[in-house]
């Protein structure tokens, strides 16, 4: 077939121009891919959430605690399989820039509720035995070079003072979306210390995690739990883990929206760049297209030549962009791991990249195709010489 050969040869006829357009396309795809990955990372908690887990918190705000006494009542609610609880600790490791999530949790039930956190049995036993023990995710331990047995001190912000912990286990995620940057320790350690230092803060939990027997009973359990504590001193709000995470994300809706808009703007800009390249190309080759039409080639065949050339350029740029996205994402994981615990390029992002490249190529070719097809042969031939 002569047309595919002409498409390939035409695409690289002006090497500098084509090279620069491919580079621009590659950078656009890199930016688009990274922004999509940021969005995926933003929603990673939603993807990682379980349909069988509910979160109960104070209905006024997450910062207000709930009494520990709710535990038994929740545990005996119909449809409840397991209940755990915890507090956001908010500790700082050496400096504020070393941010990571740290929680005080009831360890045994917490680990049962989160089977996606895989902890070796020996380490799990060590952790459960040691009240000062803590467990860290693999990425977090690697970030600070921690090893089991290391003593780590966190500076309390909500709970003042220096808190010493002993690393007893390092968990890995069962799935790619599991957060491997968490730090959790015994709630009892926190509570007993509070009883001594700040008794008024003791026996209070920030949230309950409820494991239900079946996802279909989630709504009934949530209603029953909230009804149980209605008109009490601390009313509850129970929702699925997914809704709970989405509630956090909704606080940053504007940022998410800006990222989405910017990623679309990038595509529109590169569309204009490629369209400009194709318009220049078509203008230069008006005579050649006229010759092809003279020989009997149809408008469809001329259009295929132009669209094919645009697609070769955009898909080459797309492949370059995708190839650059992976190392860039690794760099982001290293430098922004504290903010995006789960940051990896999803296969769907690559599909979106390819879709964007196809769209850009086809849209950019529309006007040049029209120009080449509409022009009269006699006028096209006059452009030669």
């Amino acid at each position: 077939m002569i047309l595919p050969k002409m498409i390939l040869k035409n695409a690289f006829r002006r090497k500098v121009r084509t090279g620069l357009t491919i580079l621009a396309m590659g950078i656009a795809i890199l930016a688009f891919g990274l922004l999509r990955t940021v969005l995926s990372a933003w929603y990673a908690g939603v993807d990682a959430s379980s349909a069988t887990r509910l979160v109960t918190r104070n209905s006024v705000s997450l910062i207000f605690p709930l009494p520990l006494s709710y535990l038994d009542k929740i545990r005996h609610t119909s449809g409840v399989k397991q209940v755990s609880y915890g507090n956001w600790f908010g500790g700082i490791y050496i400096s504020e820039k070393n941010f990571f999530a740290n929680f005080a949790v009831e360890p045994k039930s917490y680990l049962e509720l989160y089977p996606e956190f895989v902890l070796p049995e020996a380490q799990k036993a060590d952790f459960l035995r040691d009240r000062r023990g803590f467990v860290a995710g693999k990425k977090l331990a690697e970030r600070f070079g921690w090893h089991t047995g290391d003593i780590v001190t966190l500076k309390g912000t909500i709970y003042p003072g220096d808190w010493d912990f002993v690393l007893r286990g390092i968990y890995t995620g069962r799935t790619q979306t599991a957060d491997e940057t968490q730090f959790f320790f015994h709630w009892d350690y926190l509570n007993e210390t509070l009883k001594k230092r700040y008794p008024s803060m003791a026996d209070q939990v920030g949230f309950y995690m409820i494991g239900v027997t079946d996802p279909h009973v989630s709504a009934d359990v949530a209603l029953e739990v909230d009804a149980m504590f209605a008109n009490s001193r601390a009313e509850t709000l129970t929702e699925t883990e997914k809704a709970f995470v989405l509630g956090f994300i909704s606080m940053t809706e504007a940022i998410v929206m800006v990222i989405k808009i910017v990623s679309l703007v990038i595509i529109v800009i590169i569309m204009a760049v490629v369209a400009n390249t194709m318009a220049m190309t078509t203008r230069e080759r008006t005579g050649e297209y006229a010759v092809l039409k003279t020989l009997g080639y149809s408008g469809l065949q001329i259009g295929t030549l132009i669209a094919g050339e645009a697609l070769v350029i955009t898909l080459s740029g797309c492949l370059l962009g995708i190839a650059m996205t992976y190392p860039a994402a690794r760099f982001f994981t290293t430098s922004l791991g504290a903010y995006f615990p789960v940051f990896f390029v999803e296969p769907f992002t690559v599909v979106l990249d390819l879709g964007a490249a196809l769209l850009v190529g086809l849209v950019a070719a529309v006007i040049p195709i029209r120009q080449a097809v509409v022009i009269r042969i006699a006028d096209g031939l006059r452009r030669i010489g």
Partner: protein
């Protein structure tokens, strides 16, 4: 060779171009025949309408009025798609600036019109090699236009024009961009195509030496033939 039956019949053809708000008449009520196997030269000053007439005969432009019948087909009644198909089988084009595709070799340029036919790859190869051997360029078939001289490029263009064995050959200033020697070679080749293969050739030229090689010469002046 008998050259009496008309292969091209032009009847009352007129053409006017619009230049902004002005209408510029180019051809006015042209009527004439071209016999089969004829080598016709159309001469005339710039703007006389000779290239326009050639374009109309070749089916790459439309007449405003009148009819043009080529080998029994009234091409003025054909749609753009039908005209494209008709051109691919009936007309061979030779341009002043050769108009070869620079990214294709001589072989591929000559092969270009054959892709619109139902020929197999092997048949196409045979046709192309035959055409290139007729213009004495078989040994240059892998060369790109940029690696050929002007005369060689025009010979490749002639090979491309004859490879489909068209009904008529139209040539618009075929020697206009060539030196004297190359021009002579091209004219000799066209002469051979006419005398040995009986091809009907319609050539537009400014060059009196080129026109002398034709068997019939007609002068066009302001859109009408001199009597």
């Amino acid at each position: 060779m008998e050259k009496t039956s008309p292969i091209v019949e032009i009847r009352n053809v007129s053409k006017t171009y619009r230049r902004g708000s002005y209408l510029v008449p180019v051809l006015a009520d042209i009527t004439f025949d071209i016999a089969e196997g004829e080598f016709l030269a159309i001469m005339g000053p710039s703007g006389s309408g000779k290239s326009t007439l050639l374009n109309l005969i070749a089916g790459i432009d439309h007449a405003d009025e009148g009819s043009i019948v080529v080998a029994g087909e009234d091409i003025t009644s054909l749609s753009e798609t039908e005209l494209a198909r008709w051109r691919s089988g009936n007309v061979g084009f030779i341009f002043q600036f050769y108009n070869l595709i620079p990214v294709l070799t001589a072989f591929e340029n000559v092969d270009l019109p054959l892709h619109l036919t139902g020929l197999t790859k092997q048949e196409r190869r045979e046709h192309v090699e035959t055409a290139l051997s007729m213009v004495n360029l078989l040994e240059r078939l892998d060369h790109y236009p940029g690696q050929l001289s002007g005369g060689e490029q025009q010979r490749v263009a002639i090979a491309r024009a004859i490879v489909t064995d068209p009904t008529i050959l139209v040539a618009d200033e075929p020697t206009g961009d060539l030196d004297r020697k190359s021009a002579q070679d091209v004219l000799n080749l066209m002469d051979r195509l006419n005398t040995e293969l009986g091809k009907t050739i319609i050539m537009v030229t400014h060059d009196p030496h080129a026109a002398e090689r034709a068997h019939v010469m007609r002068h066009l002046e302001k859109g009408v033939f001199d009597s």
